[in-house]
Symmetry: C2
Subunit: 406 residues, 2 copies
């Protein structure tokens, strides 16, 4: 494969996704453990739903013919032969002139063809007869066996992310356990002599390691497992060794720092020493220009710049789709949105730019501090990235724009 350079976002994603092998290993889990995971197999209904003809409400199961002409002034009077609570099964058939009291969800007795809502009835003295003040027709207020789905119907497809609704659907199918895809493991390798551990007193010239936490928290939010590796100083051969070691038990390696043009941009050296196949270097987006993507054996290596602000953007644009592809998630992991700009801004370089913003359903509001490079603080509370096309040098308030929801 040739080495691509200065790639656009869509080209980068196409190149990346062509190299990703979804995780194959699966795990069996109970329903609670399936939440937040991806189904590894189709979920088939084990029973019809509902499993029997059931009443949609509380009332009386009757034969519609017995109610012919019934009204407020002239109620039908029927003998009550039985009461059928939910969770039980009727003992008797409904014969002409009789009714069974029935609860929501309870199986309807043989012989009846409809259920009359309790509010339209009045139980007689002693509870052995009921007055019904209106008519009803065949099927009224009865949910038929299998009306929702039949046994064997595929309810959820392999590759479906399991949220709370899907957890409920699994339970309703009758399955007590399901098979899900193993969580992808993403190794987080921050680099740079200048980084100090949060909580420590930094030496002169040092700043805190932000990227480790930015990346690992996002990896967790996206349903994968962050494997936080030791921080690595500016040392190509050492990083090469650490990359090879991480590749042995990771589905993805993300590095930060050391990819720009300076002398100490040793990630290029490390990738070469480790024998990585470079797929592309440099992108035509801001932030994120110096991004490098390579393969170490079959393991994708995403090398981001060291700027936390750039990491926050590029992990969204590139890492998120990689994790979705690794996990076999069949849904698009990126939610695109549209709105108008509440604030204008300048984009001197004319590069395609992703600008963090607060989107309220209609408008994109851009917090102040746009040009403060690396000011991650300005991203607090933002919920999206506005996608500013290449060649846009400035944008005025009110302009229509597209964005990506976090």
């Amino acid at each position: 494969m040739p080495i691509y350079t200065r790639v656009g976002l869509e080209e980068a994603l196409k190149l990346i996704l062509s190299t990703i092998e979804p995780v194959r290993e699966t795990e069996e889990t109970d329903i609670a453990g399936a939440a937040g995971r991806i189904l590894a197999e189709d979920l088939e209904a084990r029973f019809d739903s509902p499993p029997f003809d059931r009443s949609a409400l509380d009332g009386y199961a009757v034969r519609g013919a017995d109610l012919s002409g019934a009204s407020e002034a002239n109620p039908a009077v029927l003998e009550v032969t039985e009461e059928v609570p939910a969770g039980t099964f009727p003992m008797r058939s409904v014969r002409p002139g009789t009714a069974a009291a029935i609860m929501t969800g309870a199986p309807v007795p043989e012989g009846c063809d409809c259920v009359v809502r309790q509010e339209l009835t009045e139980l007689g003295d002693g509870g052995t007869s009921v007055k019904i003040f209106g008519a009803a027709g065949p099927g009224d207020n009865i949910v038929r066996r299998g009306e929702e789905y039949r046994r064997g119907t595929v309810l959820l497809r392999r590759g479906t992310p399991v949220g709370h609704v899907e957890a409920g659907i699994i339970a309703g199918s009758g399955a007590g356990r399901v098979r899900v895809i193993r969580r992808p493991v993403a190794a987080v390798m921050t680099t740079g002599d200048e980084l100090a551990e949060p909580g420590s007193d930094p030496a002169r010239g040092e700043v805190f390691n932000v990227n480790r936490f930015l990346l690992s928290a996002r990896i967790g939010e996206l349903g994968a497992r962050a494997d936080i590796r030791d921080h690595i100083p500016d040392n190509g051969p050492l990083l090469a060794e650490r990359l090879k070691s991480a590749a042995a038990d990771s589905d993805l390696i993300v590095t930060t720092g050391g990819v720009s043009v300076g002398k100490k941009d040793f990630v290029h050296e490390a990738l070469r020493l480790a024998g990585a196949e470079i797929i592309f270097r440099k992108m035509r987006i801001k932030p994120g220009m110096p991004t490098v993507y390579s393969l170490l054996g079959n393991v994708p290596v995403l090398s981001l710049s060291g700027s936390p602000f750039a990491v926050a953007v590029t992990q969204e644009l590139l890492m998120r789709p990689i994790l979705a592809a690794l996990s076999g998630d069949s849904t698009s992991s990126i939610r695109r949105i549209r709105g108008r700009l509440a604030d204008g801004f300048d984009n001197a370089s004319g590069h395609r730019r992703f600008v963090r913003a607060v989107w309220d359903g209609e408008m994109f509001r851009i917090p102040e501090g746009l040009h403060s490079n690396g000011a991650l603080l300005s991203m607090a509370g933002c919920n999206c990235l506005i996608d500013i096309p290449e060649g846009t040098f400035s944008a005025a308030p009110g302009i229509e724009a597209e964005g990506i929801l976090f």
Copy 2:
């Protein structure tokens, strides 16, 4: 307090939230453990950011006066006295006629007043001098100490949910640990004789317990802890005992089933026996009409109907704001959206109705099966609830509507 009945959604929320005491207990955690939690205290910067005047890019730290008149044809030539990688501190001052090679993020030396980007320079043979092909002015490419924020600045407020960006901001502040609010504990108490455990073979007349999983998965997604209690048969006195026991170690109790008008609607009885103070019963929304809200001592008890479809809707409308209030989350937990209907629908009752749909940023698409009451399956893949106002009996495609994002 009087007992309210047939309350609207906003009235219900106001009544509910007036009764909620936020969880007071806090926990200290490392940064990784803070993700998904709510800050219990303001986060103050422990250092200026940046902590020193630093270079914004790779290049040369110089005195701007030395570049006066420099151009492509007539470069300034300066002596290179030192190299300053990120993570180190400069040893020398920049004096007239000299320059220091400097890396992105490194502290700028005394004496210099700007940094020239490496691409505008050419290192001389032997590396002791550099040609600079352009001018620069004071402050160019230098990020000043404290430019982002000063030590002591409040970076994140108490009550802020910690996502990945906030985790990065905490790390950048220098804090290694933070104090977060204890996760609220929500007891999940499903009721009903008719429910079988998923994975078992149901008896005749039984259906599977869906609500336990629907609720507990959502509680987890919303950052709280689900305390799954034993399923309870249709037995008022037993439920009363279990409610009292759950109230001893829960911040919220959610029950399902047994709240309609039928004979077996024993939740009302249980609440009375347990001594709960009813705040409201019945709501003017569909689904969710039979909802009851009460207090057992100080513990809120949200009693939902047994229909999984109704539970999915009402947990979003009512339980989610309760959990946000309990956790002290200062942000609005509900994200309202707008769009046009791709599909029309009928709403025979004219009640305010919440209809599950797929919202693509512009249009609401309503999956088929709207009238199949309790068909949780039809909610799979939906990402929102359309909010249909009271008195709307039908809606045509193209109409503007509001909704709530899951």
